[in-house]
């Protein structure tokens, strides 16, 4: 973050942004920053305000309060045409009557380049996104992935300060999506452009972003690196939205790192939210962190459970277990690698022992 011009070390900053549509508050005091060259992903369910935030950063919508600063310049009152941003829309919005080359060149005509320079720049951009030789094709003649890359080349044509991506991969099928994730990320790193990507796809955010901003109901609920967000989800919402998590309700805090669940006492080392002794809490653990075994597990930590369902998922197996305690019967899910599942010889109805490792369990305030 040493080369950033902002006073606080940020290249792009949105501060206290508020946006209302009539009575509905789409954004409620939202702020975030991005360093130069950073890839930030805004992740959230539909209707959480993430696209509105992107459009406000772009200058396509006017915020009701708050500011947007790009490269040390307050652009809050500027229209999109004067913010020097490149945008890739969800639909790509490629001009159907123009060739790939003309689409990419669309903004160049009014720019500083002229004549032969334009053709050179267009070729450069198209080869950058791996579309050399497709200059003369119309969007309808290109595959979805190719269209996506034309849109990307067009957005980069004017060397924008910020690249804004609005659900750039949602229109593609799964295979192409997985490939393009890597390509876009590599391109962004190579060009060193600061990128903001809006998505509802957690996998996209986890694999591409340097940093993730999780939004819900017009607010930022957590921001941090993908690993931090996944490992230490700040709220049950984040935990459930990114990956999956088991929630065991009705635990009571007995002391530092000690919780009572039913008749058992559990060690819990993670407390993302402040919980006082005596308060009721919900314990969360990700399915892949649940340890399954038999009598070899330490007797004072293991919990008996019965296999109530098995879901074969190829590389992994999801096991649904019924905990005998606390009552009424609590369901918990565990993900096992295929090899481990074979080893345990799992079948429905079988009694097992499970272990919830203290460093993988988080306690949340009871809802």
């Amino acid at each position: 973050m040493d080369q950033t011009p902002g006073a606080d070390g940020s290249y792009l900053a949105a501060q206290n942004v508020v946006k209302r549509y009539g009575r509905f508050t789409a954004l409620n005091d939202v702020g975030f920053t991005a360093a130069r060259g950073e890839f930030v992903s805004v992740l959230g369910p539909s209707g959480c305000g993430k696209t509105t935030l992107l459009r406000i950063v772009a200058g396509l919508e006017r915020q009701d309060a708050g500011r947007v600063v790009i490269s040390g310049r307050d652009v809050s009152a500027l229209p999109v045409s004067r913010r020097n941003v490149g945008i890739v829309f969800q639909s790509y919005a490629l001009f159907p009557n123009l060739t790939a080359a003309d689409n990419v060149a669309y903004g160049l005509r009014s720019g500083p380049q002229a004549g032969g320079n334009i053709a050179r720049r267009v070729n450069e951009l198209l080869s950058l996104v791996g579309l050399t030789g497709l200059q003369g094709k119309y969007p309808a003649q290109l595959s979805g992935g190719q269209q996506q890359r034309v849109a990307l080349a067009r957005a980069m044509a004017l060397s924008p300060d910020i690249l804004l991506l609005d659900e750039p991969l949602s229109a593609l099928d799964a295979k192409v999506r997985a490939r393009l994730r890597g390509e876009i990320k590599a391109l962004q790193t190579r060009l060193g452009v600061t990128a903001i990507m809006v998505t509802h796809d957690q996998e996209e955010a986890l694999t591409m972003a340097d940093r993730i901003l999780v939004m819900d109901h017009g607010r930022v609920v957590q921001h941090g690196t993908p690993r931090a967000i996944y490992d230490q989800p700040a709220t049950p919402f984040v935990a459930a939205f990114i990956g999956s998590m088991n929630f065991l309700a009705g635990a009571q805090k007995r002391g530092q790192g000690v919780y009572q669940l039913g008749r058992r006492t559990l060690a819990v080392w993670r407390e993302p939210q402040a919980i006082e002794t005596g308060q009721t809490a919900t314990l969360g653990i990700r399915p892949e962190d649940v340890v399954l075994g038999h009598e070899e597990l330490p007797a004072d930590e293991r919990l008996p459970a019965r296999v109530s369902g098995l879901e074969f998922r190829g590389a992994t197996t999801r096991v649904t277990l019924a905990l005998a305690d606390p009552r009424p019967e609590t369901a918990i899910e565990a993900d096992l690698p295929a090899a481990r599942a074979r080893e345990l010889g799992l079948e429905t109805g079988r009694l097992l022992q499970i272990l919830l490792p203290p460093d993988r369990v988080s306690a949340y305030q009871a809802a």
Binding site: R73, V75, A77, P79, V80, S81, R82, Q141, R154
Partner: protein
Amino acid sequence: MTGHAAPPVPDQSDWREPLFSERRLRALLLLGVVLWLGLVVVLPLGQLLAKSLYDGSGTFVGLANFRAYFANPALSRSLANSLRVALWTTALAVPLGFAFAYGLTRTAIPGKGFFRGLAMAPLFAPTLLYGITLIYLFGRKGLVTTGFFGFASRTLGIDAGWDIGLYGPVGIIISETIFTFPQAMLILSIALRTTDARLYEAARSLGASPPRIFFTVTLPGVKYGLLSAVFVCFILSFTDFGAPKVVGGQYNVLATDIYKQVIGQQNFAMGATVGVVLLFPTLLAFFLDRLAQRRQAALIVARAVPLPPCETALVNRLYFAFCSLIALLLLIFLGTALLASLVRVWPYDLSLSLRHFRFGDMGGGGYAALGNSVAMAGLSAILGTAATFGSAYLVEKTRGASALRQTAYFLSMAPLALPGMVIGLAYIFFFNAPAWQVAGVRLPSPVHWLYGTMGLLVLSNVVHFYSVCFLTATTALKQLDKEFEAVSESMAVPFYRTFWRVTVPVCLPAVLEIAQFLFVNAMATVSAVIFLYSADLPLASVAVANMDDAGDTAPAAAMSVCIVAVSILVRLLFGAAAARLSRRSQRWMAP
């Protein structure tokens, strides 16, 4: 990763919006649309309403004109007559149109292109022609009335003559049915085509019988289309002038009353009063239709599966027979019109000649009138397309400025509720006034110079057909990606360049459709222009009315044939242009 740190001091010089920013320019253009529609729609209409509250000498009399109107049975009977004609026409044209449209969209009958083309043919002719043709078939010396000119009684010894009592409601209703049939057919074809095949599969899988499916799936699916067809047929037949003028006889309707009051008796106050009486049921139908259309928006499913036409062989044969019958009747009808213009002296000398096409010794203006009509239709097509497409673009593709956009939209839809007679009458009052009284001050009218010019004729046509064109343009524009404007804005490309390079080329089929619609309608219309043409600017469609009035029925038929021929020619030219266009754009159209 600190969320909110102190921001750098903003550079205040960046905050100012340039004087002619895109946003301001667009808002200014939208304001222009609103002002222009205000000038050519709202003010003339206001003038008409005002006129109905004054007497002939310019004294304010309140509702006295309306009291006089309803007190005089000779006048008020026309309201009942118009309603009766409109209701009968609707009751006939909508079922016929429905059956025909059903045959074209839901069955596997052969020759659909031919049937569709033929069913559209009545759209090209002035409604006067239907009246004239009916006279040749069912009039006093008509083919049917005289039993094929006595052929039946001479050879077969039976009296096969059949007098249907053409002059009066019967003739008007038949004419209006032929006139509104293609409109109902078009609306219902669209409604019948946009359905979801999955609904039918679900109904069949649940064991519903064909009649049950028809009443529980088909009819509810097209109910808004049906409503729309009902309103359109009602409005068109309620306000039409041409057919009642020719075959109405002593049976007065509102449209002919306005004409008689204004042109015959120069009673402008009573003309305006009848105009307002004509306007109100039309406005009511218009608002009901709008209401129904708004409901429909919720009904359309984004990913509907198209229904392939499939019916049993028996049903297909029935529909083929029905469509063939309608087609045959239309062919006889059109053939009679052509024959009427070619036969030397109907019914005495049936040899063919072109003498009725020599308009030189007739009133009405002859080929000069036809030339004027072509010029007027051409100008209306060019200027009207630019005006309607441009305003639809501004309304549809501008962000913000919602008050201006809504006003512009409302004003663009308003002409749909205005009968041609009302527009013509309002324009006389508005453009003929040499001065305006504004708050007691006399101002010379800035639009008076248009009176009696080609400009006013073109303007009346553009306004008369504005809404349909505006809707066509809006539909086409809605299909464009809504981010095109945002993309070009983000690249600092001015919106008018994107309009030229992308929006217009992609919407070109719709643009051609609009231009062609304006041309054909401007050629055939009588109602608005009959008040506005001047002696030095005769028009073909008006000439038809005047020649028929003077008893020159055959030349009137000949002139109608000329109008239809020009319209078909232009339509073919447009068709060729569109075909060339689609070949060129095939490269970028989605496969």
